[in-house]
């Protein structure tokens, strides 16, 4: 394994949502490091906090959410900055320029009243990477060509409703790439697309990553995608990272009972399994999360300590971390 040159470090992140029903402790002390040039995956069930974590990186947690504590260290070529301490206008300059997002539903992410050319050009002009609108519109064609949009000269003048789902997602990726960011955060970029288109979009992302030496943070619940795309993977459960390691480590030698369950529940792309099994129980209510390890009510190895104390993420073998009392004493 290459030596990791960190580009982004998330340290001890806590996010709460202040709802009428109570305080939802959505992210509960998440820590991970993303290395330059890798594809880092966040996996987990719906509602486990993947999306919130990814949005929190540039302080985009929607109302009524609040980042309670933590640090997001971004390594620029000139030094480290803590994004959570940056004033809003400086942060705006980083969003979409240094750290770009690709959203889940391309149909909703594009403004229906403007052409995609306009929206790409707008992103460049707002970050002053292209000084004039006129130039930006011409550059938008190149951007569309780079994401393999068919007939980009014509499509640049198309409105979102005139494009297919795949073309819309290509446009969204184009917007994300238009300012040549260093990090792309792709939040389930294919879950709203047909399976055949999914493969095309993932191929595109892989190709772009190699060409432009991007760092990708990929958020997904699709284990097949993880195995195919990722270098390292963090498994999330109920606002915690429960296991973190290379794809090989996590898929071949899963340590955490939740990861094991998760891999038994889906066809494992790296090892053969006979039949699929469900994880018993349901995702806990995060207004009143279970004390200790948040997974203990569903775990078949529960011990006394699991109900009392929260396990910390510890390194079991080089690069392979797990947060479970079975492994740390």
């Amino acid at each position: 394994m290459e030596i990791c040159k960190p580009i982004l470090e998330v340290k001890d992140l806590y996010v709460n949502f202040y709802t009428y029903a109570g305080i939802v402790k959505a992210i509960d002390g998440v820590t991970f490091t993303v290395c330059e040039g890798e594809t880092f995956c966040l996996v987990g069930e719906t509602g486990c906090g993947k999306t919130v974590t990814s949005r929190a990186i540039t302080k985009l947690v929607p109302e009524p959410g609040r980042i309670e504590k933590g640090e997001i260290i971004y390594h620029t070529p000139y030094g480290k900055i803590n994004l959570l301490e940056l004033p809003e206008d400086k942060l705006r300059e980083i969003r979409g320029k240094e750290i770009a997002y690709i959203f889940q539903d391309p149909a909703a992410a594009l403004d229906p009243l403007y052409t995609i050319g306009y929206q790409i050009a707008e992103t460049m002009v707002e970050h002053k990477t292209v000084p004039k609108w006129k130039e930006a519109f011409i550059k938008a064609i190149d951007v569309l060509r780079s994401v393999l949009m068919p007939d980009p000269e014509k499509r640049v003048k198309a409105y979102p409703h005139e494009l297919s789902g795949g073309m819309k997602q290509r446009s969204v990726i184009g917007i994300g790439l238009s300012n040549q960011p260093r990090i792309i955060i792709a939040d389930e970029p294919t879950s709203y697309l047909d399976v055949t288109i999914q493969a095309q979009i993932m191929d595109l992302l892989r190709k772009l990553k190699n060409e432009k030496r991007l760092t990708i943070i990929l958020i997904t619940h699709n284990m097949g995608l993880v195995a195919e795309m990722c270098d390292r993977v963090a498994v999330m459960y109920a606002g915690n990272i429960v296991e973190l390691g290379t794809v090989e480590q996590v898929f071949k030698n899963p340590l955490h009972p939740y990861t094991k369950g998760l891999l038994r529940a889906v066809p494992n792309p790296l090892t053969k399994i006979e039949r699929l099994e469900a994880i018993p129980g349901t995702v806990p209510n995060l207004i009143y999360p279970p004390p200790g390890c948040r997974f203990h009510p569903r775990c078949s190895y529960t011990m006394d300590i699991c109900k009392r104390e929260k396990p910390r993420l510890v390194e079991i073998e080089p690069g392979h971390h797990v947060a479970c009392w079975l492994y740390s004493r």
Partner: protein, 346 residues
């Protein structure tokens, strides 16, 4: 573009039955009133029978009602009917201007243009106060400002126009003398029909200022209901678009707040424009009271006088014009949809 043209022609054709329906309805109601219009026009109880008979002949009052109606509409169409009250041709009174018009002096502007100008002023108030208030209220959701804007709609709807009018007259005329309530200055030449614009085109700035000064307060009173309503509609529409995914994505791609607001406002515009179109009709309906309170020689007052004197030729002429403007306003709204939203097809 060809589609748009076809759509407009189709809509204009539907104007005809609507106009016939509206005028017919008003005509029938006017006819049901148990009074003798000829006697009233001739001067009341003391009128001589010969004059009454001559008026009956002239306006076909002895014929069945449908003959009367057709006669009236035909004459209106060729501007060949004289109002028995003002003794001017009806369209001269309303549109073309008369040699002996408002307050005895001649005028180059019919009364319709005075009302139109008042309505447009009120409309400007609604657009330029109502929409920004709504946006502000949405951005500062649940703040005291938001509550104030939300209650403004309620206050606006439940404030009687005449009460607000007299209150403001008391403040600005009786106490501080900053407005005028009599006379109506005119530019020396009629060009577009809107007095302020004509005055500015002719370089007669002081006349333009006088007109603005004369209309500022009545237009505010007329538009007061609309300001609250539009602020409220804008607030709700803007809140919805402000939480949309494309605004979230806009933040994620690092757009400035002003730009995000532009995206949100444009997407919120469809419901706003719909209500604006309806408001325009409401303004026309509110004009008679405002004009009476502020002594503005507009079309609303003209029609009230017409009703009072059984002058139903003038009344129907006025109704015809109101209906036409209302339909045009809504046609413009429908065309605007297509300009805002590329998904709209005709």
């Amino acid at each position: 573009m060809a589609e748009l043209k076809r759509f407009i022609v189709r809509r204009l054709v539907t104007f005809i039955p609507t106009l016939i329906g509206v005028t017919l309805l008003v005509f029938i109601i006017a006819n049901l009133i148990p009074a003798d219009p000829a006697r009233a026009w001739a001067g009341g109880e003391k009128a001589s029978p010969e004059v009454i008979e001559r008026i009956r002949e002239e306006y076909h009052l002895n014929d069945p009602w449908y003959v009367q109606y057709v006669f009236l509409m035909k004459k209106l169409f060729t501007n060949d009917i004289v109002s028995p009250r003002t003794h001017n041709k009806i369209w001269d009174d309303l549109i073309f201007g008369t040699s002996q018009g408002v307050a005895g002096a001649g005028t180059k502007y019919g009364r319709f243009f005075i009302t139109l100008q008042l309505t447009l002023f009120a409309f400007l108030y609604i657009v330029f106060i109502g929409i920004p208030l709504g946006v502000l209220s949405a951005l500062k959701k649940d703040s005291p400002l938001d509550s104030a804007v939300r209650s403004l709609a309620l206050v606006g709807v439940s404030t009687p126009v005449f009460w607000l009018g007299y209150l403001l007259i008391y403040i600005f005329f009786v106490r501080f003398r900053v407005i005028e309530l009599a006379g109506f200055p005119e530019p020396t030449q009629r060009i577009t029909g809107i007095m302020v614009i004509d005055a500015l085109l002719l370089g007669e700035n002081d006349i333009a200022i006088q007109i603005i000064n004369r209309l500022a307060l009545p237009a505010f009173v007329l538009g007061f209901i609309g300001i609250g309503v539009i602020a409220r509609i804008t607030r709700n529409a803007f809140l919805e678009t402000w939480n949309a995914d494309y605004i979230e994505f806009g933040k994620a791609r690092g757009l400035r707040k002003s730009r995000l607001m532009r995206h949100a406002l444009k997407n919120a515009l469809v419901p706003i424009v719909t209500v604006l179109g309806l408001q325009f009709g409401g303004l026309l309906g509110g004009a008679p009271i405002t004009e009476t309170v502020f002594g503005i020689p507009g079309m609303g007052r003209y029609m009230i006088e017409a009703i009072r004197n059984f002058d139903y030729p003038a009344l129907i002429g006025g109704v015809l014009l109101f209906a036409l403007i209302y339909m045009l306003a809504n046609l413009i709204v429908d065309i605007t949809y297509a300009l805002i939203d590329p998904r709209v097809r005709y």
